[in-house]
Amino acid sequence: MLLAQAPIMTDRPLLRVSKASKQFAPALSFGDHIAGWLGQEVDQRIVHAVDGVSLDLHRGEVLGLVGESGCGKSTLGRMMAGIYPPSQGTVQLDGVPVMGAGKKPLKTTTRIQMVFQDPFASLDPRVRIGETIGEGPLVHGLVDPANVGAYVAQWLETVGLPAEAADRFPHQFSGGQRQRVAIARALAMQPDVLICDEPVASLDVSIQAQIINLFLTLKQTLNLTMLFISHDLGVIRHMTDRVAVMYLGRIVESGPTLQVYDHPQHPYTRALLDSIPRLVTEGDELVVFKAIEGELPSPLAPPAGCHFHLRCPFVQERCKTVVPDFSDHPSLPLSGRHVACYFPIS
């Protein structure tokens, strides 16, 4: 069933992330600067948000990126969208880097667009939404000024809003409707890739279902390629063809979604899946879940070796020193599974 669903893969991925890392270094204080000039060692706290991640996104697929807060999934998403330049490694769209070179690089393409988590923060409250949606396409010449009204109306209807909505301000919409506006704004740029960072996390359950259904429809009618970032494993299972599980800056497992969910190979994936309270409709237990021991280590000082070894029930000596390799480059077609573990669950 899965193969029948899978879109046809070409050899070359649409979007390729190669060994990309991102560190954030907070600006040094004035005192630290002086200490630096005087030749003192300055202890700079560097956050290792993403650590050597390789990932391919193929045309027509929906890839899920799942992990707990602070695991680097949003940072990776923003690197793929051309918002953050990678500190090391590359992100390429059809073989061309998505960001230019130089000290303050800019995004070089409009073919990747993003939908953010909070539609209350991502829309300008003082601009009518018709203008919000139409501005990008006008600037980039996707539509001429005479036709922009009709163009905006067309995208509003695509996301299930009436054409008259163009004259309203964001505060006149509910959370679910605002998220529709944010999706229309991204789609109006006619992107090849849509990066969605927790697009349903801030919505109520009944509204969440409406937006998930909208994404499912759009995926079919527009043949969208999507990266779907979420901490909600249920939503990821429902929405995606393939999933990548992140832990503390690294991808620990990836593969076709249902295979990963039914037979997780990385101990973290299994623990994560077990820790979600799930309603069971049959049997004695109503809700089943198990807790993972310990907490996520700080990305300021990630542990050596496998990042999960502090919490892993199957830890061995080797895990504490040598980073398990996530096979060299996951350029395999959809069927490929990868696990960064010395002792995967068979």
Binding site: D204, A271, S275, P277, L279, T281, L286, V287, K290, E295
Partner: protein, 324 residues
């Protein structure tokens, strides 16, 4: 069955806004027994948090408790004087909030904050107070508690901060803890740890809890009774297992069916159309009527709460029959 701890009857809390009266909580009644955990679920704006705040008298203008009674072991809390209420808050009923990074004072060590909570209700020597604090910190799973008393909130992770907040709530051995979305701000792996711990603590201390959440599955993992709220009213209640396996209100049924777990991957989810009506100027009709697929002429009048055994439902057309 154990003795009745809390009786809430006809509780109504309204907010007098510029645009009119907002009926946040509308005629809410329920009973809580000693040591029982009751789950209060609903979407944002359904009135579940305001219900929790109203029980503790924590409603500020423009909000006002306009009707109803809240009795703790027979003692009426509505209309009680502020000093008397203070003696109840933190000692007999305590509360755990959603976001531990805003509920703890960032400039006081947690030891100081915990001692303040103790001293508000009794006089203790420093040693005795510290011993009590260390004891509860150990119970909520914070290792090395004696040293941690000197720590400030920023030195703890989010999960650990929430444990501290729970420890403070437990300090005076309250009879009831109101938990308002206590695990929503936490990651799933930490959430699972806290859920299991709270369940054990409730058993060990014999503490009753009102667990407020939008997430049906987390509530159901701790609670034995469930109250489902919609637009300020309880629309369905009953034992968790019965209610979730055979929901009788179209809203509860829709909510359960809209969870991604209940559909095969990639298939459209069963969605509830529309959104919750504004709580200002609610009409005489059933508040769910515009979103309901069972509605007819009868639904233009607000349904009364009907009961069947331990179950209650506010609907003219419940799924199963035999309702009184």
């Amino acid at each position: 069955m154990s003795r009745i701890l809390l009786e809430v009857e006809g509780l109504s809390t309204h907010f007098m806004t510029r645009n009119g009266v907002l009926k946040a909580v509308n005629d809410v009644s329920f009973t809580l027994h000693e040591g029982e955990i009751i789950g209060l679920v609903g979407e944002s704006g359904s009135g579940k948090s305001v219900t929790g705040f109203s029980i503790l008298g924590l409603v500020d203008p423009p909000g006002k408790i306009v009707a109803g009674s809240v009795r703790l072991q027979g003692r009426e809390l509505i209309g009680m004087s502020e000093p008397d209420l203070r003696a109840v808050r933190g000692r007999e009923i305590s509360m755990v909030f959603q976001d531990p990074s805003t509920t703890l004072n960032p400039v006081l060590s947690i030891g100081t904050q915990m001692r303040l909570a103790l001293e508000a209700h009794e006089t203790l020597s420093r040693q005795a107070a510290d011993a009590r604090c260390i004891d509860v910190l150990n119970k909520v799973g914070i290792p090395d508690a004696a040293r941690r008393l000197g720590y400030f909130p920023h030195q703890f992770s989010g999960g650990m901060r929430q444990r501290v907040a729970i420890a403070i709530a437990l300090l005076n051995h309250p009879k009831l803890i109101i938990c308002d979305e206590p695990t929503t701000a936490l990651d799933v792996s930490i959430q699972a740890q806290i859920l299991l711990q709270m369940k054990t603590l409730a058993q060990d201390f014999g503490t009753a809890m009102i667990w407020i959440s939008h997430d049906l599955s987390t509530v159901s993992s701790v609670a034995s009774q469930l109250l489902v709220m919609y637009a300020g009213r309880i629309i369905e209640s009953g034992p968790v297992r019965d209610l979730l396996r055979v929901p009788d209100h179209p809203y509860t049924r829709g909510l359960l069916n809209s969870l991604p777990d209940h559909a095969s991957p990639g298939q459209p989810l069963v969605q509830i159309p529309g959104q919750m009506p504004s709580l200002i100027g609610l009409g005489a009709e059933c508040a769910f009527v515009s979103r309901c697929n069972q509605s007819d002429a009868l639904c233009q009048t607000s349904p009364a709460l009907r009961s069947k055994g331990a179950r209650r439902v506010r609907c003219h057309h419940p799924v199963a029959g035999d309702w009184q």
